[in-house]
Symmetry: C2
Subunit: 205 residues, 2 copies
């Protein structure tokens, strides 16, 4: 009886040591996993921030270029006004306003992006960014696509509806407007990458 209990006495501490050391190893593994995970997420968050800066440049450029697009031809008659500016076409007005809203949103989203850099494992700011990015990319796409349709019309006209191309007269204006549409389209690509980054960062949680 005494011998048996002695063997138990010996067995117990060795068991305890084993299991506690096991726990320590587990904790270390978990911790190093969390650290690696946080590191990967921080990398994504920094890329997110840089992409937002690039998208701000693209949308600001698009909006300002479209807003300042203007061309006055060096001749005029009594009845016709040979001047083109963005506010001659409601679609271009929509473009300026919508893309300006997108640029403002991007500036406002920067603090959230910084939060995801500082706290890479925080879920809430990621989710907020993902949802609002999705809503705003729709606005950005609508602005770019509608203006692209009008620019196409201005370049090529349409015989079936008797809409004549105006770019033959206002070549410079068309070129400026087209570059604004291209800048807005580049911003769309940035947004798509931003959304995919947010989705991957949410997944890894």
């Amino acid at each position: 009886m005494a011998k048996e209990s002695t063997t138990i006495d010996v067995g117990e501490p060795s068991n305890v040591t084993k299991s506690s050391s096991h726990i320590v190893v587990d904790g270390k593994k978990k911790r190093s996993f969390v650290v690696a995970n946080a590191g990967g997420k921080r990398g994504l968050a920094i890329f997110d921030f840089l992409l937002r800066l690039a998208a701000i440049s693209a949308t600001l450029a698009a909006s300002i270029v479209m807003f300042s697009a203007e061309e006055t031809l060096p001749f005029f008659t009594q009845f016709l006004q040979f001047q083109a500016s963005y506010d001659d076409l409601p679609t271009f007005q929509f473009f300026v306003i919508a893309v300006a809203i997108v640029a403002s949103y991007l500036v406002l989203s920067l603090p959230f992006s910084i939060v995801t850099i500082v706290r890479p494992l925080a879920v809430a700011p990621r989710l907020v960014l993902l949802i609002f990015d999705t809503l705003v990319v729709t606005l950005n796409t609508a602005a770019a696509a509608s203006s692209a349709a009008i620019v196409y019309l201005a370049h090529n006209g349409n015989q079936n509806t008797n809409w004549l191309p105006i770019c033959q007269q206002f070549g410079d204006f068309c070129q400026i407007v087209s570059s604004a549409v291209v800048a807005a389209s580049i911003a769309i690509v940035f947004f798509l990458v931003l959304i995919i980054i947010s989705a991957i960062a949410l997944k890894r949680h």
Copy 2:
């Protein structure tokens, strides 16, 4: 020594029972959490599936309505053709093709949606759906917005560019085309909800 070892002998089983019961409670809690989580996710997945069906109807309707939009006026002259159809305007052709692609994508996405119902905790199909939904909603928005710009022009014309409204002659055609654009816009709303659902389902993981 013998007494001490006896107390240890008694203490050990009670300790084991305590700790093992503790583990059982923990396991039950974890399990019930996983079950509740899976239940919530399954609810989201079913809503996702139904939304996809609704979006398929909307996009199919939009594409077919636009494709079959046609109006022939009951009079004609030798020089002018008084007929309007979707392929008179390249933007409407783009609309038909783009929205048909969106509808096809939605049909192909149904199996993935079913996978998320059957296995609510699977992350990969969610992520695939989220990323492709985001890409496709951009295409859908581009189609709807560009056609909306042309429909607006057809309704109101533009004095500055001398583009006359064609809806005064082709009223029925304009109405049909407008309804196609509205259907595509409803599909955009469905897509936005789908993306938000996927983001929330990814987050809860």
